[in-house]
Amino acid sequence: MSDYDSRLRLYALANPADFAAQGATIERLVLQTLRLPPSPLRRVYISPSSGWFEYTALDELWERSTPPTLPAAPAAMKAAEELLANLERACSDANRAWPTSLRGMALFPPIAMLQRIGLHAVPRPDGSNWDHWIYRAQPRLALDGGSKTRADVFGAQIEVRIGHMGQPISVRSRWTPLSGEQQFTDLSAFRPSAAEDAKDVDSADTTAPPIRFSLDGDGIPQYYLAPYYFASDDGEYDMTSASPYSLTVAVDLTRQDKSGMTLTALARGGSGNYAYNWGVYSMPLVENGIRELGPGSTVIISNGDGRPVASSIKLDSRACIVALNVKDRATGAFKHHQQQIYPRIPVEGDVEVSSSQLA
């Protein structure tokens, strides 16, 4: 086995706007695959913010006037999986009609690597009948250079709904297309988060948890898929870095007094030499957009990572959502982070410093 085989892959994401710009062509290819003529009742949409794909038969999904006749489960499963294979061929280099500007990139995740999650029948809200089958699958990618291990892409999911007489009535692909560029990186040792650290050391499970890639969501700036450990944390997943490119970011309300609240952001997983840029918005004033605040004040923290760079910023004590773009100056690793902030009830003469590291 070569060194290359044991290294981890990073997958660069395509610019979703490139796919959205070819929306009309892709719609034609998708409808051809479905053997349907263009119609206002057939919606094909590619999100310019994420590249996520939607096909919906608007007059079928929940709206069919007569009760659908659904196929048996095995037939529905087959219909869903065959459709995905056909869509993959139609929307990739395998199709000669695939736009030149998208050559080398595919709209859907590698279908052969999908992990089937299940098939379920979904009833209509009034209970009058079953409306359709929903088929779900989990996208996966090769984790290591040797392609011996596959890893789930957390946040990605494929859904196909099969309706009347086995017809596909909806496809949803929560998947941002890959650009084709890959980079290799080293596996970082598993280091549990503070909450895990604080549990009984003798009984703590030191086994490294599963590794998954993470797709952060629709409309969230993200340049590449990086691997993370997904540890169990009181019944939920706790993401920690699995490579120097797999940054995590957390924000803490570290001080609050009459003049406002101080928020401190700390990245983890990279070199420690981080650059930050803050933004803020509030839900009631969402139409005002995200206001850029700047890099904040540099804070050096002493912890298990050495002396990583954190950043602090002072804001009025109001509920808000802070946004952060973080870059590792040493590697270029990037992470966009947002976090809801609710200031605490103010107490006269009292301040709160929750991170003892901020000496």
Partner: protein
Amino acid sequence: MKCADSATGWTFDCLTDVSGQPQDGGLVLQKVRHDGHNFAKDIRTVGLWFEFEKFDALGQSQGVHKVLCPLAASQGFVVSPVRLLVPKTMAYPEVVQKIKGHAQTFKYLEESNTALLFSDYFRDGDNAVAFGVAAKYDGSLVLDSLVWELGFPPCEYSGFSVEQIFLFSRYSNVPAHEPSGALLAARFHPLIHYQLTKNTAYDPMLSRTRIRSIRFDYRLHLYLDSSHEFTEKPDAAQTRKRRSQGNQAGLFADRDSLGFWRSVTAPVRDMSTLAFAAVEKPLVLEVTAPGLFKGVSEGGDLAVPPPEGKVSCWDNIHWWGTRYAANTYISAPGAFHAAHCHWRWGELINNTGIIPGADYDYGFRHFLPGKPLVDLGIFMQTIKVAVTRLTSWRDPEQTPLAKLTTSEWADFFDGKHSFAAQPIDTGDDIVLWYSTEVASEVTIPSLGNTPFYAADSGTVFLHGIFFAHDAEKSGGAVGSTEAQYRPRSADEIKRAGKWFRPAG
């Protein structure tokens, strides 16, 4: 008005009159779905109440009175047409756009700092976050009218303006919905922002009227899809009866401390026991339940006598489609296909990371636990929730809006003319009633003897509801899918038959 936004994946009908104004009472949304997954059948506000207190010139209270103030032109509001909020696209920096497919991503990130700039992704002044509808209600003399009709003296405020902003976000993991930061969901924020305007004719030396509280009552007829896994044909007789089982809900109170015994036994306890101080999953009977009491979670934190002074509040409610397999429910914690409504997280969340002097490499409480998730200026909110079966007398399609709310919120459910709490544990067509009442002031002895006063403006329901519709996950990393009852067992709840069931 059909509202569909492919950019966020949300679709719904917004009921309006011919001029595009919302119906009397406020925004009404129906058939609310995200990515084709049902979320709600009907969402609306059903009541807005003022509690006034009359004082004489010596400052002696002369009585209190509650008045319903529907959001309607007949109440004196100038009502705007419904406004659509459409989010702009998130775009990548121009320099990256010119590179086909971002084909030199890693080189670009290493060499350039433009990735840090916000203005490339989200243009200044553009909503890049949420789809939604909004309506304004300008009530410059609404309070004057209400007080005058009561025969009360002038109020400290004369005007009351409201904006309803019902927002729907994209599906993402950012901002984090759960403390773990690893649960994708789309968010729904049914916000009501209000502004009181001072009465220039008000004289505190004369007899006068004060606002004691403002209460906002919502009716949220949530409906999430059931999904049934079976291999036979779906119209087989044994499955036909399953398809109308409706929804279930659960109430949860997070732990605020682990305690010594639970700490040492943590490795052998199940996650639900560690995470929740109290739980009723699924709800056994229809219920009314406290969520916050004037901004705190424990009635004992306020200087009030029992019964309120002894009440412990719930922190969240979850809602899901009844599952096919008998006696299995959504995982908790987890709930990967569920509506999550959290107005507070327990102190235990991430709390272990801040032990003074400890050298943790990641000692940040990245979810700010133990605080009510409310607008700080009006934090003194009393949140109450009820879950009921759908009945004709609780259905706005069949009952006038004014009869869907009562001056004492709980009387609508548990009053002398009401019925006993009905069983809902096996699934039903159920409705969530959410109420938040902003008190004008509160004193919290542990924080000092100086009262906190509510601001003249604020926004309620900031925390919103997040809607996850992923496949349920399995394995050791998720919580229990079994029924959970603590501190009262299901049998005790059934026997007692009480509507009002606090966490403790």
